[in-house]
Structures are given as structure tokens and as C-alpha cells.
Symmetry: C2
Amino acid sequence: MKKIKINFRIVNNQKIQTFRLNVMLHGLLMEIIPPSYAELLHSLPVNPYSQSVKLEGDLYIWQINLLDEDAESLIGQALLDDEFSQFNLRSLNEGLCRIESKTTEELSQKQLTDIFYEDKTVSKIRLHFNTPTAFKQQGEYVFVPDVRLIFQSLLMKHSQLIDHREEINVELLEEMIQSSRISSYRLNSYYYQIHGIKIPAFMGSITLDVRAAQSLINFMLVLFRFGEYSGVGIKTSMGMGSLTLGQLR
Amino acid sequence: MKKIKINFRIVNNQKIQTFRLNVMLHGLLMEIIPPSYAELLHSLPVNPYSQSVKLEGDLYIWQINLLDEDAESLIGQALLDDEFSQFNLRSLNEGLCRIESKTTEELSQKQLTDIFYEDKTVSKIRLHFNTPTAFKQQGEYVFVPDVRLIFQSLLMKHSQLIDHREEINVELLEEMIQSSRISSYRLNSYYYQIHGIKIPAFMGSITLDVRAAQSLINFMLVLFRFGEYSGVGIKTSMGMGSLTLGQLR
């Protein structure tokens, strides 16, 4: 898996809400990759990429996470190409953007698997939801960090993208839910607009208290490290659900 | 009902955590009122007072809410007496405190009842939880603002202190719960220490979306205005559960 960060500036220095920018950048992404691959992506049940953008000072940090080999090679190639040094956000008036720098970070399948064999004692796991995050349950949006929905979302993405299985291991899911509870939090709700629709979401951080066998806790850590690439919840290709694994205790 | 605010300074300027101060001030309160009344208070199922303290700059603001006539007269008298111009927090080393000013605010039974007959359209109610707030449900602490537990707590306090009924109106409670949902929030958890016990609690604010007949919404507003005096949830005599009714839309 590969994390690409593209730091760019909008040349005329206009400020734009990140949720609008996310939609534009998603459009851009679909334009610069091979059309046949863009078409394939639209048909997949789980996206092998996630992306989000944030503003730091006057620099936008666009983060694109690539979760399988095809995405790494086809999206990675397009983004890391030296020719790709500026771009135009067409739906923005004078939307020329200049790329200042690009960084990449990789997490191999082996590194991810290795976490599973660590013997560090962990009882508290901090999770940061860096961008608006939401789940869908029985057709309704859920805009609180429900333990079941967090694990279910990550396990589903992990099963499909890493294990190439359609079905999730339901017993494993139940075990993780039973062994975890939120012991502290700092959260706020946020209505995230995509194509004019306001999605109720949340941002902030939680601490999970976990009491379980080492192997189960290690598997949770695998999921959360994976989640730093996949994102969690809905619309992770549109800037939502950016996750970071924080302090472990 | 009466709200008394006592602004005081600790003479030697020491800073002290408000949860420790709350316990001390509760002790002080019990000392300055008639002993027989203090004894009576200990035996009541619902406290006819609530209190909390906060620090603003280097001034402590101690707020005491008095919910019935006995409390207004007996606690009010003790606190508003001109002789009560300084006090000593004995469990604090050099705990002399000087009172800078006192203010009072009243809400009559009639003013409270009048809310019930207003015809202002309200669909959004902002609530502020100014101090750590928690509920107890089936022996467990609940440290999120659950709509059911908020209404249940306020209705219980209101029934006992205003209507002098032991039982709450369960149908009314269910109607209020059915008509309300949290549409936005900004919250953080907080472990509040009382006598060495850490109680999981939350602080922050929520917006309730309400869709109901005018009379039901008005009754909710009565409860919330009452709640500004009673506080909400557990340990409101020890600084927890201070509530303010915020913006209405």
C-alpha cells in the first residue's frame, strides 16, 4: 500500500472549502488515470484508494492512499509522473494549481502482517478521525463513532482488498466489539457536503479500551494500520473518513 | 427558584482544580446552613439545590441554585447574609477566600409556567453542558448525552420538586424522546473525581431537532429552563451537570 502526499498551492491564492476541493480532486484523479481503469474503479464494490485534502497555512496537502497493486501502479504512476507538476481545477475560476512537492510512504503486506506477531502489551488505542467520518446503517447515516461500525467498516475493506474475500468473518467482528469500549473522546459533528447533499458526520478522536488476547488486539492494530490507508466509513474516495492510529498504551 | 452567584478569590492566589473545590464548597454549604436542615437534605431523594464552581480569570464563580422555598429561604439566607463575606476552606492549606460580590437571579413558578403558553415556533434547541455531566443507567455510568436519559433526569427532578409527585409521566417521556434527535454536537469526555472516585462524564453542547406539537415543545422548554436550576444527571450538588439552554431556532 502506498500513501502519496501532494503539496500544492492555488496560484491566485484563493481559499476554497476542503469538501468542495475534495470533489474536484476526485474528478481530477479520474481524468489523469487511464480511462479504462477509471471505468473499472467505478464498478468495484470497494475502492482500492482513498483520498482527502487539508489546508496547512496556505499550502494544500492532498493525500492519496493506494491499496492494491493496480492502484499503486496506475494511479501512482499518474500522480508521481514528473510531468504532473501543475493542474487546473476546471470547476474553479482561475483554478490553476502548482505542485510544490510530493512525498510517498509505503506499507508492505509483510509490514502489515508483522504487526500481527508483535508482543507489545496494549490496552488503550487512540484513533484520530482527521476528516468528517460517517457510517451507513439500515439506510440511515450514523454520525457517531460506534465501535461496531468502525470495526465492521475496516474489516469489510480489509477482507475485500487484502484477503480478496467477499464475506467478513462475523465471529471475529463480534469478538472485537465485545473486547472494546470507548473510554474517552473529543468529537464534533460536521455536515459534509458532496454534490449538494449534506452528510452528517463527525471529526475528532476517541480512545478505545481493549481487553482481549494478544492475537485479537494485534489484529485490531492491523486493521487500524490498514485503516490509515483505506479510511473508515463511507465516501473515503471523496475526502471522508481519514483515520490515523494514535497513541498506544 | 433562585440562582445565587458568589464571586470569590482565594486570598493567597493558589489555583485548585474545580472538582476538588466543588467538594469543599459542598462541605462549606452544609456547615453554614442550620444543622437540622442539612440533616433533612441528606435524607431527600432529590436535592432541592445544585451547585458548581468555575474559574474565570483569577476569580472563582460559585453558582448555587435553589429549587424550592425551604432551600431558597434557608440556604439563600446563609449565603446572602452580609456577615458571609469570607470563608475558609479547611481542607485547603491557607484556604481563606474573600467574597468579591454576590448576584441573584430568580425564576418564579409563574415565569416557568408561562413558557408553556408561548407560541414561538421552535425546531432546534441548543443545550450546553457546562460542567462534567453523567447519567446512571442499570448501575452503569453513561457519559454521552443520550436523549432518553436527559429527558428522564429532568422530568424526574421536575416531577418531584415542582409537581411533588414521586412518579414521572412515562407517556410524556416517550413522546419527548420520539420527537427529538441530536442533530449536531461538540463534546468531550472528562473523568470527574469525587472523593477519589473517577466518574466518566462529558462536557460540551448539543443541538436537538424537535418535531412535535407546540405544547410538547413548550413543555421541553419548561424542563430545560428548570434544568438551568436543577442541573441534569447525577451529582448535581457536587458540581456536575450544570446545564444552560442556548440558542433556539
